[in-house]
């Protein structure tokens, strides 16, 4: 009876009731009376019940405001999202059911606490958890907590295909694919507008050009990639490709060219290595002139365009009119001699040139790539710095190579190189090039085949189709030229 006494004493103290000393025996009698004991017990029971009810209410409120983490999903892809009740401190939660999952294509599997199924909607979706917690009365209504589930849209479905504006002064065809003979070899080239351009209706920045000069026996293939962040880069890439052909067709130094051919003949007769060295020097001098010619041609066009359309030159980041035309640039010249093929190349930017031997056992990368620390960082033919850089001497951008013959000569923009080779180191690996050829010949997700046969008149369409391969995160323009 001690707790009854204590209870009544503290009640009286709290209420200011004083039991005087001459009434202490009366008080002792009062607290042992059955109805006093019952009253105290009822009060304590009611108090406990009040506290329990509050605890439950409080806990439910906490659960309702708690963020329950459910992994994100993707529409159309099998989803398995585990709800870890233990980790989220929800062990006192008595699960009843979910409402609204079926509509999303999902269901809850009680055996492993997983939401599973294939989501049929995307967005910030909501469904409801119905639950009770330990200690709640049987007949209480279920508590309802709205949960959020993020279902991502299918990335492929987000891309739009907006045609480029044909009325634009510098409009360029979105996709071009072509095949032809080039000297004794054949060539197929496809250049296609990237997803990122399609998505906003902008233009293809890549370009290419090729030509066989019947008179001299030389052939040339050029590929260029206009910088996405500059507004006239598609013009820059176009001028670059056409200008280099113009140079070798109309502006090359005839005397130097003759000297070059004479030396080749005497090398052919004598196999004298010192003559070979001289040939290399001569070749590179000639290539250098070509690159200066290209640079100046773009520059002249930039100045001309500025005169007629100054409103196009409104980028505060550009330091000169030439900057608007920023484009990477590669080209390869090749000619068949008795002793084999002479291949001359130049490259600025991040587009590789490579040649595969006749036996298809070895592929050699013919240029080095300007790859920055970060994506997109590269160098352009439009930057005058490249001509007198000590860090990356211009001379190293040229290559001179003699091969007995070759099976394939490749030129491509980073739109192909990024998804297919990923990193520079892979361009040095012959097996990667063999995989690349296998891919072209049909070993790919869509089983698209490019048949490298001179009789194949469909090859341009085939390559064009192959170029449409899906690769997440790679949405640049794609240009691929193959001499075979």
């Amino acid at each position: 009876m001690q707790d009854v006494k204590t209870y009544i004493q503290s009640l009286f103290t709290a209420k200011g009731i004083v039991v005087s000393s001459n009434k202490s025996s009366l008080f002792e009698e009062f607290i042992v009376q059955q109805d006093s004991i019952d009253a105290v017990q009822r009060i304590i029971e009611n108090q406990n019940s009040l506290m329990d009810k509050w605890k439950i209410k409080n806990r439910i409120a906490d659960i309702l405001s708690q963020q329950i983490v459910i992994p994100n999903g993707t529409i159309g892809k099998p989803y398995l999202g585990h709800i870890n009740f233990e980790k989220q401190n929800l062990t006192d939660l008595i699960f009843e059911q979910f409402e609204g999952l079926e509509e999303l294509g999902l269901s809850f599997n009680k055996t492993n606490d997983c939401i599973e199924g294939i989501p049929n909607l995307s967005g910030d979706l909501k469904f409801t958890l119905l639950f009770k917690i330990n200690g709640e009365e049987e007949n209480e209504p279920l508590n309802r907590k709205v949960l959020q589930l993020v279902i991502n849209p299918d990335p492929k479905s987000l891309w739009k295909d907006i045609p480029s504006d044909k009325t634009d002064k510098f409009w360029k065809e979105d996709d071009v694919s072509i095949s032809d003979k080039i000297g004794e070899k054949n060539i197929v080239i496809s250049s296609k507008r990237g997803r990122s351009h399609k998505n906003v209706g902008s233009f293809r920045d890549d370009d290419f050009a090729f030509k066989h000069f019947a008179k001299s026996g030389w052939s040339i293939v050029a590929v260029s990639d206009g910088a996405g962040s500059y507004s006239l880069s598609r013009v820059g890439s176009q001028i670059a490709c056409n200008a280099v052909i113009d140079f070798f067709e109309n502006h090359a130094d005839a005397e130097k060219s003759k000297e070059f051919e004479d030396k080749i003949i005497s090398y052919n007769e004598t196999s004298d290595q010192s003559i070979l060295k001289e040939i290399e020097v001569l070749a590179k001098q000639n290539l250098y002139k070509a690159t200066v010619f290209v640079h100046n041609k773009i520059k002249a066009d930039a100045e001309e365009t500025f005169k007629t359309s100054p409103e196009l030159f409104n980028n505060p980041k550009a330091k000169s009119h030439l900057d608007y035309y920023h484009a990477t640039f590669i080209f390869a010249l090749f000619k068949k001699y008795d002793f084999g093929y002479v291949i001359l190349t130049f490259g600025v930017g991040d587009c590789p040139i490579a040649v595969m031997n006749l036996e298809q056992t070895e592929t050699t990368l013919l240029n080095w790539l300007d790859v920055g620390e970060f994506g997109g960082g590269t160098r352009f033919i439009t930057q005058s710095d490249i001509f007198h850089s000590t860090e990356h001497p211009m001379a190293t951008r040229f290559n001179f190579k003699i091969v007995p013959d070759f099976s394939y000569l490749f030129l491509m923009t980073d739109g192909i190189y990024d998804p297919k080779f990923v990193v520079e180191a892979n361009l040095e690996k012959s097996e990667k090039w063999n995989e690349f050829m296998e891919d072209l010949k049909g070993k790919n997700e869509d089983n698209t085949v490019v048949e490298f046969n001179p009789e194949n008149t469909q090859i341009a369409e085939q390559l064009s189709k192959w170029m449409d391969f899906w690769s997440q995160g790679n949405h640049d323009d794609r240009t691929l030229a193959i001499v075979y």
Binding site: Q67, N72, G372, G375, G377, E424
Partner: protein, 211 residues
């Protein structure tokens, strides 16, 4: 695959308590939703969120957008704005997380930094020390956003290459601002020269560009 890493530094100091923090939560959530339906962002965007008040919290480590879940941003009822300390953590994170290109590794796109504050740094000495270090990380763009009358544009200007000022940190202004942020992010992966910064779209009328 190239990633586009985007870092958010958000002021959660005492003065943000109440309506501003609510508005910030709503605006961030709206921005994430709109990015989810952007084709490029859905494939390349990675997001990190760091909040700063007395303490610095990486409330969401760098996560690819499809897996990203926005946690609720909360702030204490009062306390200083340790922007310098936040930059210190940011420097550490970016140095470790952002991949640089090499012959055997694909480099990320240059990261972007958005820093949002309604006051000025309390740890001004550390803040000043961190600025050159943050700049050495070669961000594609650092955008500072000063919200409200008490926000200090000039301190932000020392760090950011673009500073915008919002008159108030209310829901509709923040929404406009973060809409612009998502437009900016969509600009973030294009090829450019090795030293250029990302060109930003022009901000909406609620957002004043500080020159």
């Amino acid at each position: 695959m190239r990633r586009l890493p985007v870092y958010f530094l958000l002021d959660t100091s005492g003065s943000m308590n109440g309506e501003p923090i609510q508005a910030l939560n709503n605006a961030m959530s709206g921005m994430i939703n709109s990015l989810r339906s952007d084709a490029q962002a859905s494939e390349t965007l990675w997001i990190s969120i760091i909040t700063f008040d007395r303490v610095i919290n990486e409330i969401s480590p760098l996560t690819e957008l499809p897996l990203f879940q926005l946690p609720e941003i909360i702030c204490p009822p009062s306390g200083p704005t340790n922007t310098g300390k936040a930059l210190e953590l940011l420097y550490d994170k970016v140095s470790k997380e952002v991949k640089k290109g090499s012959p055997t590794q694909k480099g990320d796109w240059r990261p972007l930094l958005f820093i949002f504050t309604d006051g000025k740094p309390s740890d001004i000495q550390l803040y000043t020390e961190m600025i050159p270090k943050i700049k050495s990380l070669n961000f594609g763009s650092i955008v500072g956003c000063a919200a409200g009358a008490l926000a200090d544009n000039s301190k932000l200007k020392e760090l950011a290459d673009t500073v915008v000022h919002l008159d108030t940190a209310d829901s509709s202004t923040l929404k406009q601002f973060f809409k612009w942020v998502s437009d900016t992010i969509e600009q973030g992966n294009k090829s450019m020269g090795t030293v250029d910064t990302v060109s930003l779209p022009s901000p909406p009328s609620e957002v004043h560009l500080v020159i």
